[in-house]
């Protein structure tokens, strides 16, 4: 197995350093499996699948060295439709399963497909611990703010007051913001994108693949059956310009018609706020920097859209380098085996032995 050195100056898709390169080029259709796709017509998952199939050839690695692991839910059917290795596992456990695979196999590009119920409810523990460890996984979290597969109960990202079959009087559960949660867990790469924006989604996948460590990509995904239009504010041509904050490294956070809205940092509290009519030279205008070592700024960004999605940042909120769990585990083993490879006979004999003569 390859001992990977995480070289921060390296360019390109650092998550796949050590994964065998493909000879020639693959096409999107090489990643289509022979299975009939069975999501509801109009589901946002189709667009995500197409974007992922469109992006994977860019990775430049062999198809057989890519693995998608999922849990349970509509989004977790994802692996069936990709012609790579794949495992559709059990509810919530995909990050744990992927951790075991990624740790032992540095020659694989390991992806997790999960949803808001799978990753944040039943599997919340595994998600935060993979982020804490910084395992080299790319986690695609399809957030549709509803339980689709079980036919429409509120999820841990559903808004307070949501009326569903299991909350006929309105949900009283306070939701998680997945990105705030991830940042709290020590995530090194946190991004958000939207199913319908193929170009943006692809750019975020690209950034995630360039990150060595756990990359959490939240994808706002429309469930047209049980939660239709949940993200219309961020999608409809008339309104999206006023609500979507596109994060670009080094660019001031100015958005809205004619750039009338900006994100300002309250210099006293550090809090981020959206304000109207601020001159360009105001030093409090936030210039996006995803590489800040301290997560405070990224956390502030993650809080902007909470609740009503009114101002929602999309793009890479945070991308920093930190030792990668599986690289570290392998490095310890490599050191031990290079120093003195184990000899089974010696191990079994131990120190205190005696002989019974024949």
């Amino acid at each position: 197995m390859v001992d990977l050195v995480d070289d921060p100056s390296a360019e390109g898709f650092r998550s796949v350093f050590g994964v065998p390169r493909v000879e020639g080029t693959l096409r999107a259709r090489d990643f289509k499996s022979d299975q009939e796709v069975r999501w509801c017509p109009g589901c946002g998952d189709y667009a995500i699948l197409a974007a992922v199939q469109g992006f994977l050839p860019e990775l430049g690695v062999r198809r057989e060295n890519i693995v998608f692991i999922s849990g349970i839910g509509c989004s977790s059917r994802f692996p069936y439709y990709l012609n790579t290795y794949g495992m559709h596992s059990i509810h919530g456990r995909a990050p744990a399963i992927a951790t075991g695979l990624a740790t032992t196999r540095p020659d694989l590009s390991v992806w997790v497909a999960t949803g808001d119920g799978d990753a944040l409810s039943i599997g919340g523990n595994h998600l935060i611990h993979s982020l804490r460890r910084n395992v080299n996984l790319k986690i695609l979290l399809f957030n549709n703010r509803i339980y689709g597969l079980t036919k429409g109960q509120y999820s841990p990202t559903s808004e307070v007051g949501k009326i569903t079959k299991s909350s006929p009087f309105g949900s009283v559960d306070e939701p998680f913001d997945p990105l705030s949660l991830a940042l709290g867990a020590g995530a090194t790469f946190v991004a958000r994108t939207i199913d319908s924006d193929r170009k943006h989604l692809t750019s975020v996948l690209r950034a995630a693949a360039a990150h060595r460590g756990t990359a959490l990509v939240e994808i706002y995904q429309n469930c047209n059956i049980f939660n239709d239009g949940a993200f219309d504010l961020l999608k409809e041509p008339g309104v999206r310009g006023e609500s979507v904050i596109r994060l670009e490294h080094g660019q001031p956070l100015r958005f809205g018609t004619d750039g009338r809205l900006v994100v300002l940092r309250d210099l006293a509290t550090g809090e981020l706020r959206v304000v109207e009519g601020v001159p360009d030279d105001d030093p409090a205008i936030v210039v996006h920097d995803a590489y800040q070592a301290d997560p405070t700024y990224a956390f502030g960004l993650s809080r902007l859209g909470v609740g009503d999605l009114r101002y929602t940042p999309i793009g890479v909120l945070r991308s920093v380098s930190r030792p990668v769990y599986d690289d570290e585990v392998r490095a310890q083993i490599a050191r031990a085996t290079q120093h003195r490879p184990g000899d089974l006979g010696t191990l079994l004999r131990g120190k205190d032995t005696w002989t019974v003569p024949a």
Partner: protein, 624 residues
């Protein structure tokens, strides 16, 4: 002074003291001396679940029993011949296990009114007549230790002073020295051990050495001990031996399975008593290409292992009963995915948290049936501490050959107990190298991930990275051969039966059940599984020693059962099944073979005693 030397065949010694008195260490060292001397030896540690229960109280008592003999023994002994009691609580907690005439060496130092009260004594047992029927040696071990340590510190080779507290703490070494003298133990291994342990703290090393030697010399010089004992080495099978505990043997068995399969060994585990030592040991052995992931919970432990199995590793998770419950769903996924996976359950008292440091065999039915749906899993169980090594290899053989999760049921008594182990020759260990799928297996040049080997019914193990074999597996029912998602009723019926047939078919690879019936005249069979092997075997010897006939069989394979078991059960008039549960194997045997087994059940957190089982068997034989 010359002392009389008495020859004995076997001796049971129990060291008992407060949790903080170092009794486990003392027992360990005495065991090492005894093993090196060449006796057969078997041990049973017994300690409270609390790391530090209140000092001097009955719940805080920790003990270590060593049984050694000049012949091969099977158990750690029913009742001690010698009790070393370091405080009033240790005396009180263990007195009920003593026969009249037992030797008691008791540290008198702590028999103050306050400590007697802590141990719930209303009067001082050293002064009233309550110990009359025992052979008591009252020794102020603590004071003698402190004096010896002080003397050493004042002597010409002084390594410096230690405080009174540290000096008193060396009293376990005084006790070890005294008992080592009493039984003619070789002391080199203990001296070496102390030197290694305290090498960088010369004052503490000097204190412990002084205490140990003072204990030895105390026996030699005082008149209190007029007799010394000798237990000659046992005539064991020729070979190189070492002493080994069940958890260590299990860890070594897993490492050996990794080496013999040529696969990286992967352990995903969450700390739990009494299984954590396996995690600790494997975490040390990285030089054997061993991966250990200390997971965030039991579910992640087995999840990570399953992921590693998908990637082609020899994957293991270790746990105890409550953890096995948490792993159920993932074991079910392993059944559906048909990937090799070892699940080692070191059983403890249950239900729920139960008795974490005590032994029990009550997870058998959980191992057999504790999953949703028809989810057959092979189950194996070691019979002794050293047998954990062989059973780990056997579990790996089954998992790798049949592409299935396998549950190995050890228990607390095996895990922490120890015995001499004849060190195997590495080349004699089974060859476990698996065959990975490397190319298409379908008629049309495609890959069928659920096309089965006609003999084993195992499916191909096609690991990621193999070109052309890209496939998706999952927990949804799969179509026979293709592995595609299938909701077809006939297919589901077929797949359920195929998975069952695969596990049942493992029996074909097993040797028929072996019955030990020396006279060939026995009408009663005693059948056990797991750690009851020792006491059942010892009981059979006693029964036969009294001229009665008894047949014994012991199961390593609990699912599937070995071939011929039904015939064996029906051959005898009576089948007795002692278990440390309320009759779990008995239930399986009755259901499977329609045989009216006679169960004997005890769940006291401690192994059976040979004596009680011998009485039971005699009763069944003579009572008809």
């Amino acid at each position: 002074m010359t002392k009389e030397v008495m020859q004995l065949d076997r001796v049971v010694i129990r060291f008992a003291g407060d949790s903080g008195d170092g009794m486990q260490l003392t027992g360990d060292r005495f065991t090492a001396e005894t093993a090196v001397f060449g006796n057969d030896v078997s041990t049973l540690p017994n300690f409270p679940a609390e790391i530090r229960a209140p000092a001097g109280t009955l719940p805080g008592v920790s003990s270590f029993q060593v049984h050694f003999a000049n012949y091969d023994i099977l158990t750690s002994g029913d009742r001690p011949d010698v009790l070393v009691a370091m405080n009033p609580a240790a005396l009180k907690a263990n007195l009920a296990d003593l026969r009249p005439g037992t030797t008691i060496i008791v540290d008198t130092h702590d028999f103050s009114p306050r400590n007697l009260q802590r141990a719930e004594y209303t009067s001082n047992p050293l002064e009233d007549d309550s110990l009359q029927s025992y052979h008591v040696h009252p020794v102020d071990l603590t004071q003698l230790t402190v004096d010896a340590v002080r003397q050493a510190a004042e002597g010409p080779d002084s390594a410096g002073e230690v405080g009174r507290k540290d000096a008193a703490r060396a009293k376990n070494m005084f006790a070890l020295g005294l008992v080592s003298w009493l039984f003619h133990r070789p002391t080199e291994s203990t001296l070496e051990y102390l030197t290694a342990k305290f090498g960088d703290r010369p004052a503490l090393l000097a204190a412990n050495l002084a205490a140990f030697k003072a204990g030895w010399n105390y026996g030699e010089t005082t008149e209190d001990f007029a007799v010394r004992y000798e237990v000659k080495p046992a005539a064991l099978r020729p070979g190189a031996y070492r002493n080994i505990s069940g958890n260590l043997a299990l860890a070594y068995g897993l490492i050996a399975a990794g080496e013999r399969s040529g696969l990286p060994l992967f352990l995903g585990s969450y700390p739990i008593t009494p299984a954590s030592d396996v995690l600790h040991e494997l975490a040390r052995q990285k030089a054997f290409n061993v991966y250990t992931v200390q997971a965030e919970d039991e579910i992640a432990g087995i999840g990570a292992a399953l992921g590693a199995a998908f990637g082609g590793a020899l994957a293991v998770t270790t746990t105890s009963g409550p953890g096995l419950a948490l792993k159920s769903e993932t074991i079910g996924l392993g059944v559906a995915l048909e990937l090799p996976l070892l699940v080692c359950d070191v059983q403890r008292g249950g239900p729920s948290t139960g008795l974490p440091t005590k032994t029990e065999q009550a997870d058998l039915l959980q191992a057999m049936f504790g999953r949703n749906g028809e989810a057959p899993v092979p189950v194996v169980a070691p019979r002794s501490p050293a047998d954990c090594f062989d059973t780990a290899l056997e579990a790996a053989r089954i998992a790798l050959t049949y592409r299935t999760p396998v549950i190995l049921l050890s228990d607390g008594a095996l895990a922490n107990g120890s015995e001499p182990w004849r060190i195997p020759d590495v080349e004699s260990l089974p060859d476990l190298r698996p065959e990975f799928a490397t190319g298409p297996n379908g008629d049309d040049g495609g890959f069928l991930p659920y096309l089965r080997d006609p003999e084993t019914l195992a499916r191909p193990w096609a690991v990621p990275g193999t070109p052309g074999l890209e496939h998706r597996i999952g927990g949804i029912e799969k179509a026979d051969r293709t592995g595609e998602v299938s909701y077809d009723p006939d297919n589901h019926d077929r797949m359920v039966r195929l998975r069952q047939a695969k596990v049942d078919g493992i029996a074909g690879s097993l040797s028929p059940v072996e019955v030990d019936d020396p006279s060939g005249q026995a009408r009663v069979l005693v059948l056990g599984w797991g750690s009851t092997y020792g006491p059942i075997g010892a009981a059979c010897r006693r029964v036969r020693g009294e001229g009665l006939d008894i047949a014994q069989a012991h199961l390593r394979h609990l699912n599937p059962f070995p071939p011929g078991l039904g015939e064996v059960l029906h051959h005898y008039d009576r089948v007795v099944v002692p278990e440390m549960n309320l009759g779990q194997l008995a239930l399986l045997l009755r259901a499977r073979f329609l045989v009216d087994v006679y169960g004997y059940h005890k769940v006291r957190g401690m192994p059976f005693q040979a004596e009680e089982l011998a009485d039971l068997l005699k009763g069944v034989i003579t009572g008809g």
